[in-house]
């Protein structure tokens, strides 16, 4: 009994700590510019200033940033789904020389700190004339990503090989087996990878920061970071935009919660 009470008390206390900043963001976004300067702070604004969202959004070319963010997010997700699944299928279904070594290399690349590749990548993309375009953010996703390859390979290993063999007897080639049998069966893994990739790309800050300089190319995160630096910006507007930008990831999380929560834990335990 006491144990349960302690459990509830601490869970509720920590939930408050975890939720308070979110609440503070939303309540600030809805306040008037005078109200945010009140002390002690007001928990609930007298009047809900919904117009803050529209005003803040319109004060900068956020619609352009949104377009860029969407472009990058959608294209990288397509890229990862195609490339990572092809590679995962290769690793999961074939025995070939150097396979285990190469797969270890795939896993090892997850440990490489981004600082080590950041500078030469910048120069490489600069040489290609890609700086200040969205290409550095998009193109690499068409070559697979270690974590997604790993996730998909693990999933393919759970698909019975008999299905492949049956198709092969019916005359299907390796690519057809991949496209017609493995891909449809892999739907849960594809959804999981999409969710991870959408969240990761949408939220990415360092990539855009390093590769983009022109405002017209900014993504939302970069636009928000720059928005803060402007001296005339009020906390109300800043919190309003922060909320708007956080909304899609939060919604996606609620939709896909089951996939994320089960798997992020499962992957780590393996």
């Amino acid at each position: 009994m006491i144990r349960k009470t302690i459990a509830y008390a601490s869970l509720i206390f920590f939930s408050f700590l975890f939720l308070a900043p979110f609440y503070w963001m939303i309540s600030t976004a809805l306040k008037s510019d005078d109200e945010i300067l009140q002390y002690p702070p007001k928990w609930i604004p007298d009047v809900l200033h919904w117009e803050n969202f529209g005003n803040a959004w319109m004060s900068q070319p956020f619609h352009l940033y949104l377009e860029n963010s969407l472009t990058v997010t959608i294209l990288t997700t397509i890229g990862q789904l195609i490339s990572s699944s092809l590679v995962a299928y290769g690793f999961a279904r074939f025995t070939f020389k150097g396979r285990d070594f190469l797969f270890m290399v795939v896993l090892a690349t997850m440990m490489i700190p981004w600082e080590v590749t950041m500078i030469p990548l910048y120069m490489e993309f600069n040489y290609l004339g890609w700086i200040n375009t969205l290409k550095p953010l998009i193109v690499p996703s068409f070559f697979g990503s270690a974590f997604y390859i790993f996730l998909m390979r693990q999933f393919i290993l759970t698909i019975p090989r008999e299905l492949d063999e049956a198709a092969r007897i019916d005359g299907a080639g390796s690519f057809q087996i991949y496209a017609r049998i493995i891909m449809p069966l892999m739907m849960p893994a594809l959804i999981l990878v999409s969710v991870f990739n959408i969240l990761g790309t949408w939220n990415d800050y360092l990539g855009p920061l390093i590769f983009l300089n022109d405002q017209s190319q900014y993504t939302l995160t970069l636009g928000l970071a720059q928005f803060k630096g402007m001296y005339e910006v009020e906390a109300t507007g800043l919190m309003a935009v922060t909320f708007l930008i956080s909304l899609p990831p939060l919604l996606l999380f609620f939709l896909a919660q089951r996939y994320i929560v089960d798997n992020s834990a499962g992957v780590a335990i393996k």
């Binding site: 349960k4 601490s10 869970l11 490339s83 290769g90 500078i119 990548l121 490489e124 949408w202 930008i245």
Partner: protein, 319 residues
Amino acid sequence: MNTESVVTHKQPAMTVQPKKLKGRAFLTPYLFILPWILGFLAFTLGPMLFSLVMSFFDWPVVGEVTFVGLDNYINMFTDDPLFWQSLWVTIKFALLFVPLNLFIALFLAMMLNQKVKGSGFFRTVFYLPSVISGVALAMIWAWVYDGEYGIFNYLLSLVGITGPDWLNDTSWALVAMVIASLWGQGSMVLIFLAGLKSIPESLYEAASIDGAGAVQKFFRITLPMVSPTILFNLIMTIISAFQQLSLALLLTGGGPLQSTYFYAMYAYDNAFKYFKMGYASANSWFMFVIILVLTFLVFKTSGKWVYYEGDNRRGGEEA
């Protein structure tokens, strides 16, 4: 023709496969993994080697490139106070963040494991901050910490504490970053929870019969059983601490007085603010070596304190 192939395949196809693949069939698997091979060469291995080479050169973005041997590395250690400052900031951050993060996450996971009602709700709440962008996180916390109107000091004042001006106080800015980072790491609770759930109930029952108390159960059963998860989290947290950049850029810009000047920010500045690409490459490689050594040490010592259930299968496979 058709009937023949059916007959030959009557035995399980698996036994057919090990036969030497010829020609196109030999190439097939390589074609499937080709995207990764190309990407690895172009975006990982190539850049890594290139940055290693660069670290031995004086390499401005515009202008002449000159070979300087080990000078970059020597200068870093002997002639650059910012190098030591940023290294120290990073280590301080990791020393504060890693134990706190592990302790809080394990604690919350254990509370969730008490068969409480609404555990789904609590899990969602703890996970929520890790879903939003680091930029959004920084924006929220900059406002939470605001010296005049921030909610953080207001809440502290309710319990009689006069909070510092968090982000502008040299002795508190780093602590402020630790707290903000902890907020974004709630997903670790779920990893611990999965670890706790995999502990067989029978172990606890047997311990109860033998008269073990709650404390003994924790140290003799829970802790050893979740130790592989602790190991995993430990490594991941250390690595992420050493790569901490966006929070520093967005919350404090490395200040006040470089008290939050993280190593990653130091390397970033050398590259993209001062355009000393060769020097910054040396910075990065030093960081890489530190991460490698740390990871190696953790794995090396883990045999002493990580308990693998029953066999050592978990340790070898996949890790």
